[in-house]
Symmetry: C2
Subunit: 314 residues, 2 copies
Amino acid sequence: MALVAGIDIGGTNMTAALVDDGHQLVERVKHKTPTEGPDAVMKAVAEMVKGLEQSPLAVGLGIPGPVNDGVVTNPPNLQNWPSHVDLGEQMSKMLAVPVAVGNDANVGALGEWVAGAGQGSRFLLGVWMGTGVGGGLVLEGRPYTGASGGAGEFGHMVVQMNGARCGCGRRGCIEAYAGRASMERSVDLAVAAGRRTTLLEIREERGKDRLTSSVWEKALEDGDELATELFDEAIAAISVGIGAAINLLDLDRVILGGGVAEKFGQDLADRVADAARPWVLLPRGDLDVVVAELGDDSGIVGAAALARAALLLQ
Amino acid sequence: MALVAGIDIGGTNMTAALVDDGHQLVERVKHKTPTEGPDAVMKAVAEMVKGLEQSPLAVGLGIPGPVNDGVVTNPPNLQNWPSHVDLGEQMSKMLAVPVAVGNDANVGALGEWVAGAGQGSRFLLGVWMGTGVGGGLVLEGRPYTGASGGAGEFGHMVVQMNGARCGCGRRGCIEAYAGRASMERSVDLAVAAGRRTTLLEIREERGKDRLTSSVWEKALEDGDELATELFDEAIAAISVGIGAAINLLDLDRVILGGGVAEKFGQDLADRVADAARPWVLLPRGDLDVVVAELGDDSGIVGAAALARAALLLQ
């Protein structure tokens, strides 16, 4: 069987997997993401690929940064990277097989589109709720990456002029309300200002160093006021953004992925759909918001799909 | 020479023109838009076409409403229209030539793309500043209309949750700050609340029944405080929306069209570019915001381009 490799490069960890032509993962290996820069990352990726049980016929990489024609530009969460790295060409030489590179959020949407909750859609937005808020698009039945590979930055659409401070330095971005890191900052600020919340106690009880989805879930179940307020704000911001994206792009489906979406499941998607519907200009009884199906594997499956496309087109 | 017809159907007037294969208008006729519904409009359009000096080989129509495969759905500014009208098929039977139909804002962007300020762009947003704020897209080098022909509603992207009331009933839409009708409502509300402004005097002096672009221009030149405030708000909303659209779509050009853009020209476009730049996530020294070149004719030229495409594909 023709196996390809899908590789998901994150700020902390990298996962490589052999993927068959039915989008199933055959073997999976993990590795810490080296922090010394692109040469170290490429070397580690090559070792992961060479350590797989079979040699893949092609390799796809998902990476957290803008990607244009294999070139990665200023990836914000990878350390010691220069402004431009031609990852596609360099890795292709190292591995002697075709290598395709995509932005992680775009590649995740692609994975869901070919094998998950996006199947059958032709106008799809994937929204990834994690530390930040990412996005990926499929338009007119193919992956959309924009003029220079930077499309899909759903999290940095502004929904509130002069609104909350975002990690990117701007104000009022969706991510400023719905990204895990921003929500945690908001909790800290509120507590510093004297607000009470069970969030921090629950975090401590559970021995976590951050407010995980399960910490939020418990606080919301307990009816914690601050947690409810911030979670409602997050849903409002995501929903206004989805409305804006639909009004601009006339999408037929929205997928919610990432830790929060997995934890809260279709209930969250239904809440988001209900909150987004009033913002959508065209009447749509069928506003289609669903939860990602592939969990952590959507990026790997999408990267493998890119690899398979590179194989076809070589 | 192979001539086609481009027809721009507005809420008040319709213009039909013979257009040559260099996108030049050869002859132009105008007509009031009938208010009795689609049959009357189609009859009047057919008469305009038959009255042209030459019979066009194909006809393109731009119409203010969502259009999907020739079918117009709930056009908000046309009177006595049922929910669905298959304008393409019916007009094609009446005229016995291929007829293509598009949304007016999309068709306007198409006109600028083929023959105006959008030439050479592959990822283009056209923003039309008029009574409302419309939008049209060209993505990956072809017109983009979305899953059901409703794409391009830039004016109803929300930039301020719980913001100003929009004519569409929602709050915080770009149009609520930058549409002429909304801006006029804001002036009336401010005056009713005791604010002073020269806008209304200038309107009266000039014998206008509304706040035209030249009325705004004079008030801004005079340093009128309310006019300056509202105009700044309009630019802020448009700019935040352009930033959001670029972050989502990684566009390579934005065109500003409509009466306000024509009146204030490239100075306005430069102000918008300066105001939008901080909202754009990817560094872009080259943020390309330009004024439409075809004026009122962009819709006609775009409709004619649709006609020519229909002719090729028949």
